[in-house]
C-alpha cells in the first residue's frame, strides 16, 4: 500500500488526502445519523401506546354508538356498521396482553381485554334481543352493556393517562439522553476534526518534505557548494522526478568539474616538464662551455709558459702569458660570485692587453674612472663580455683605429659604467632585440668566451632587482655604440668609502 502511495502523482496524493478526510467525516456522520435516527424512532415509539389506546377507545365508542344506533333505528346499515365495528374492536383487543404481571399496565390491559369480551357478548345479546323484539330483555342488556362500556372506557382512559404520565417521563429521559448523545456527537466530531487535521498535516508534510529538502540542497548548489548530500528520491511523483533530475544534474556537474580539474593538472605537469627541460638544456650548455675552457688546466699551463718565458728572459712574452693566466683565473674564480668594479676593470685591462697583443695594438683603450666607485659590488663577467662585443662587432669590422672608452661615474645614487666604441654602431632594431633578449646572435662564435648579452642583462637584472639596468646608445651606422650599465649604490658601500 505504501509503495502504491509512493507511486501516486502529486495530484493523486492531494486528492487522496481530501478523500480520506472526507470519508472519515462521512463515516462518522453516518454513524451519528444512525444513532440519531434510532433515537428519534425511540422517541416516536414513546407515544405509540397512547395512540393505540386512543384507537382502541375510538373503536369501542364505535361499537357502542353503532349498537345504540341500531337499537334506536334498527336499520340494516346500522347493523352492518355494528358488525364491522365489532370485528375491528375484536381484532384490536386480540392484541392486548392477558397475562397477570407485576406491571399495572399489563393487568389493566388484561382487565380491558376480559371486560371487552364480556361487553361484546353483552352487546351481541342486546342486538339479538332487539332483533327478537324482546323489549324488556334488550333494555336490561343494553344497560348492562353500557355499564361495561363505561367501565372499559374508564379503564382505557386511566391506562392511557397512566401510560401518558410514564411516557412523558420516558420522553423527558429520552430527551435528556438525546442531549447527552448530542454532546457526545459534538465531542466525536471535534475529535474527528482534530484527528483529520493531524492526518492532513502529517500527509501534506510527507508530500512537501522532500520538496523542502530539495529546495535546501538547491540553495546550497546555488551558493556554489556542489559537495552536498544527494536528496533521496523515494517517491515517484513529480517531486520524486524533479529530485531525481536534480541529483543527476549535481552528479554530472561534479563529474564535469572533476574532469576539468584533471585535464588542468595534466597541462600544468606538461608545462613544468617543458620548463625543466629548458633549464636542463641551459645547464648542459653551460657545462659544455665550461668543459671546453677547462680553465685550471689552461691557466696552469699558462703559468708554466710564463715561468718559461721569464727564465728565457722574454719579458713581453712573460707579461702576455701572465695576463692571460690572470684573465682565465678570474674566469674560474669569480665566475660564480659577486665582485667589485675594480675586479671587473682589471679583467677588462687583462683582456684588452691580450687583444692588443693578438691584434698588435689596434685597440685604443681609454679609462676614466671615479675611484670612489671602485668598490661598488656587481656581478662578475659583465664588463668583459660587453668589451668583447665592442671589439667583435664594433671595431673589428671597421676600417681605421678602433677606440674603446670606459668611464665609471656617478649620477646621484647610481654608479654608471659606460663602454663606448667608435665602431660600426647598431641599428635601433638590433638594439631593441638585444635589450629584449630575443637577439639570438650567431653566438658563441669563435673567440667569444661564451657569455652573450642576454645573459649579461639577465644577471644584472637579477642582481639589481630592477629592470632598468642597461641602455645601449648608437647614433647610427659607423657612429659607434655606447653601452651604459646602471648600478644602484647601496648605502653601506657609500659609507665604506
Amino acid at each position: 500500500m505504501r509503495s502504491k502511495w509512493r507511486s501516486l502523482s502529486l495530484q493523486g496524493k492531494i486528492s487522496g488526502i481530501y478523500i480520506l478526510a472526507n470519508i472519515i467525516i462521512l463515516i462518522v456522520n453516518i454513524i451519528l445519523l444512525i444513532g440519531i435516527n434510532s433515537m428519534t424512532d425511540e422517541i416516536d415509539m414513546v407515544y405509540q401506546e397512547n395512540l393505540h389506546l386512543n384507537a382502541l377507545s375510538d373503536a369501542l365508542t364505535d361499537v357502542q354508538d353503532n349498537m345504540t344506533a341500531y337499537l334506536s333505528v334498527k336499520t340494516t346499515d346500522a347493523l352492518e356498521e355494528y358488525y364491522r365495528s365489532d370485528q375491528i374492536y375484536r381484532d384490536m383487543i386480540q392484541e392486548l396482553h392477558d397475562e397477570v404481571t407485576g406491571r399495572s399496565f399489563d393487568r389493566m390491559e388484561r382487565n380491558i381485554k376480559k371486560m371487552s369480551y364480556k361487553y361484546l357478548d353483552a352487546v351481541s345479546q342486546t342486538i339479538e334481543a332487539k332483533r327478537g323484539r324482546n323489549v324488556e330483555k334488550y333494555r336490561i342488556r343494553y344497560e348492562n352493556a353500557t355499564q361495561l362500556y363505561q367501565y372499559i372506557t374508564t379503564y382505557i382512559n386511566s391506562l392511557n393517562n397512566e401510560q401518558f404520565k410514564r411516557n412523558t417521563l420516558n420522553c423527558t429521559e429520552l430527551l435528556r439522553a438525546f442531549r447527552f448523545f448530542e454532546t457526545i456527537s459534538i465531542v466525536i466530531m471535534f475529535v474527528v476534526i482534530v484527528g483529520n487535521v493531524a492526518v492532513i498535516i502529517k500527509l501534506a508534510g510527507n508530500i512537501i518534505s522532500p520538496l523542502k529538502r530539495l529546495a535546501g540542497q538547491a540553495d546550497e548548489v546555488a551558493r556554489g557548494n556542489f559537495d552536498i548530500e544527494l536528496v533521496p528520491a523515494d517517491t515517484q511523483d513529480e517531486i520524486g522526478i524533479v529530485t531525481g533530475a536534480f541529483n543527476q544534474m549535481v552528479t554530472s556537474i561534479r563529474k564535469y568539474i572533476e574532469r576539468i580539474r584533471q585535464s588542468m593538472e595534466v597541462e600544468r605537469a606538461l608545462k613544468e616538464k617543458e620548463l625543466m627541460m629548458e633549464a636542463h638544456l641551459k645547464d648542459a650548455q653551460l657545462k659544455y662551455l665550461q668543459a671546453q675552457i677547462n680553465p685550471h688546466f689552461l691557466f696552469n699551463t699558462l703559468n708554466a709558459g710564463a715561468q718559461l718565458a721569464m727564465m728565457e728572459g722574454a719579458d713581453r712574452t712573460y707579461r702576455y702569458v701572465q695576463n692571460m693566466a690572470e684573465f682565465f683565473r678570474y674566469n674560474v674564480k669569480k665566475g660564480e660570485e659577486n665582485v667589485t668594479i675594480r675586479d671587473e676593470l682589471e679583467l677588462v685591462d687583462n683582456y684588452i692587453y691580450i687583444l692588443n697583443v693578438r691584434f698588435s695594438g689596434d685597440i685604443h683603450f681609454e679609462k676614466k674612472v671615479d675611484k670612489s666607485l671602485l668598490h661598488v659590488q656587481m656581478p662578475s663577467m659583465i664588463l668583459q663580455p660587453i668589451v668583447e662585443n665592442c671589439v667583435n662587432h664594433g671595431i673589428r669590422e671597421m676600417a681605421g683605429e678602433g677606440t674603446i672608452r670606459l668611464s665609471v661615474y656617478r649620477i646621484d645614487d647610481v654608479a654608471c659604467i659606460s663602454i663606448k666604441d667608435n665602431g660600426i654602431g647598431m641599428s635601433q632594431e638590433t638594439i631593441d632585440k638585444v635589450m629584449s633578449g630575443t637577439y639570438r646572435e650567431e653566438e658563441l662564435a669563435a673567440g667569444s668566451n661564451g657569455i652573450g648579452m642576454d645573459n649579461v642583462i639577465g644577471r644584472l637584472k637579477l642582481f639589481t632587482e630592477s629592470e632598468d639596468v642597461m641602455s645601449i646608445i648608437s647614433e647610427g651606422k659607423n657612429k659607434g655604440t655606447e653601452v651604459i650599465i646602471y648600478l644602484q649604490i647601496k648605502e653601506r658601500e657609500d659609507e665604506d668609502v
Binding site: 472519515i24 393487568r107 382487565n111 374508564t154 393517562n161 397512566e162 484527528g195
Partner: protein, 344 residues
Amino acid sequence: MEQKQRKKNSFTTMVIVTLLLVVITAIGGIVVFRLYMGSLKDIEDRAQYDRYYAMIVNNRKDTFWQAVYQGAYETGLSENIYVELLGDNLSDNYSREDLMRIAISSGVDGIIVTADDSEELSGLIDEATREGIPVVTLYGDNPRSTRCSFVGIGSYNLGREYGRQVLQIASRKKNLKVAVLVSASAQDSAQNILCSGIQETLDMEKDSEMQIEMTLVSVDNTNTFAVEESIRDIFMEEELPDIIICLNELTTTCVYQAVVDYNKVGTVNILGYYDSDTILKGIDRNVIYATVSVDTMQMGQYCVDALSEYHALGYTSQYFTADITLISRRNVSHYLQKEEDDEK
C-alpha cells in the same frame, strides 16, 4: 531509515487510533443509550403470576387498609399470586359495588371485599360465585351471601377490651358517660357485636357504685367529608362524653384533632382504633388514652390464604380472626420505636 520507519509507524498508529476512537465512542454511545433505554423499561416488575386477586376496600388511602393490602400482597407474592388493590389507578372513583362488577367482568381469580350486610353486595357476591370467583369478605361480613370466608377481627373480644379500658378509667372517676361512635349505616353486624361486647363487659365487671352510661353516637359516613363534620357536631354540644370510643382509624384521627382543637385534653378520654403514626403520637402526648392495634399483615395474609385454600380444596374455613393488641401509654414507646425503625 529506521527512524523514518518508526515515524511512519507512529503515523499509521495515529490514524488507526483516531478511527478506533471514533468508532468506539460512537458504538459505545449507542450501546450505552440502548442499555439506558432498556433500564428505563425494565424498572417495572414483569414477572408473570399464576393468579390474580382483586381487593376492594372502602377507603384505599387509609393506612390501615394499605397495611392490610400490604399483608395480602406479600403473602400473594410468596405464592405467585398478584393481589391488586382494585381501583387504585383508575381515573373514576368507583363505588365498592362498581368495583365488584369490574372485578367480576375482568374475570379475576378471587375477590377480597370489605363487606356489610347490604343486599346489593350480597347479589354481587352471589354473581361472582356463579362466575366461579370465590369472594372473601374482609373486616365486615355479609353472612347472607355465598362468600367463601370472612376475615375480621374478633369484634366481641375487641368490645370486651374496650370495656376493660372503660372500667380502668372508671376506677378514677365514678360517673362516666361513654360515647361509641358507630357508622350510620347500621347494616354492619360487626359493629353491633362490638357494642354488645362493650356493654356486656361493663355490665359484668363494673362495681356497684359505678355509674356508666353508654350511648351510641352515629357518625355520618355517607359522603366523603361527613365524618369529620359529625364529630365536630359532638363537640359543639354542651355536655361532652367522658370517653369516646372510636371504631375506625378515620374517626380516631378526627376525634383526636377535635379534642386538641377544643382544648378538651384531659376531660375527654379517647379509646382509639388502629396504630397509625398520628394515633401513636396522640397516645404519647396523653391525648388518646389507648388504642387497639390490629395485626393487619395477618389480616391480609388470611384473605389470600382463604382464597388459595378455596381454590385448592373447594372449601375453606368460614371465619378467620386477626389478632388485636392494646396500645396505651405503657407500651406506646415500643411501637413508636418500631415505627422509627421501619422508617429507617
